[in-house]
Amino acid sequence: MSGHHIVELKTNVTTFIVLVCLTILTVLTAKFVDLGDGNLVLAMAIASVKASVVLLWFMHLKYDGLVNRVAALCGIFFLALLIGISYLDLFFR
């Protein structure tokens, strides 16, 4: 079974510090680097990395079985379909 991996304090602290650093990076790039529309892409890229860090370490997906990973990926996959196909319509109509 995959169920009983205990994540130690040190790992949780490291995860938290990484998330705070990425938050600071989000604010700095959004406020002081002007990339035009690229700012949206960059901010979403950083947010996706942050979400992945939370999913893998705080939510234990790194140590978890296949079924739970598939459940999480299903949610993300259908969300990507929704936004992706909506944007196809907007761009190519």
Partner: protein, 231 residues
């Protein structure tokens, strides 16, 4: 059939073959629920992106009129609460219900701080006529102009689009706020059970499940913060 109450710290319910099987089944249920949460908020995020493509300038004006420092503060508060929640799960898995209880209390306090900050943000926006409902919509354009980086944005676009931004802002952060409230309720339930020493290294499903829920609420804010406040 016996009606004696199962001590879940050391034994499984009779319809499961083992404690591991029961734990895995419960956790899978929570993960399926998390997938539906991603998709529920996903609908709102999709709406955000579609209208952002159509009414880009007013999103800039709307975003600039929010107080990004309060948004950043709330981001840090939620990240810290996620850390204390993750550590509470760790302590429960080690059998330290007392330590876990303290960590869940800190998590709940963070949740309350988040809501207090949100209360001040909401009342300031309502005061300036920026709530798009209940006949409260009466935008204070001087207030908006004083906040945004480029006032010329306001010249060529309709304030109706600004209202659209605030519809999304209140709908998305409001739904997220309701999740925080529900999270507080769940944590009170967990605190009660931790206090009664109901968990063990072999049975900690409820703490872990509430933890997963709390982290998803955090992840949603991780996306809301830059989308609403920064860009």
């Amino acid at each position: 059939m016996s009606t004696a109450k199962v001590d879940r710290r050391v034994d499984h319910s009779h319809h499961f073959s083992s404690m591991d099987a029961e734990h895995e089944a419960g956790k899978q249920g929570v993960w399926l629920f998390m997938a539906t949460e991603i998709m529920m908020f996903g609908g709102l995020f999709a709406g955000y992106f579609i209208y952002r493509f159509k009414f880009h300038d007013m999103y800039i004006a709307g975003g600039d009129s929010l107080d990004w420092k309060l948004g950043a503060l709330n981001t840090l508060v939620l990240l810290f609460s996620s850390f204390t929640m993750a550590q509470a799960v760790t302590e429960t898995m080690k059998g330290n219900n007392k330590k876990a209880l303290k960590l869940v209390i800190i998590t709940t306090l963070c949740a309350l701080v988040f809501l207090v900050v949100k209360y001040f943000e909401y009342t300031a926006k309502i005061h300036h006529g920026l709530f798009p409902g209940f006949d409260l919509w009466n935008p204070d354009m001087d207030y908006i102009s004083s906040k945004i980086r480029d006032v010329s944005i306001l010249e060529n676009t309709s304030p109706a689009n600004l209202r659209l931004f605030y519809v999304l802002y209140f709908a998305m952060t409001g739904l997220h706020g309701i999740h925080i409230l529900i999270g507080i309720g769940l944590m009170v339930w967990i605190m009660k059970r931790l206090k009664n020493n109901e968990f063990s290294p072999k049975y900690y499903t409820a703490v872990e499940g509430v933890g997963l829920y709390w982290h998803i609420v955090d992840i949603i804010w991780i996306f809301l913060f830059p989308l609403m406040y920064l860009i």
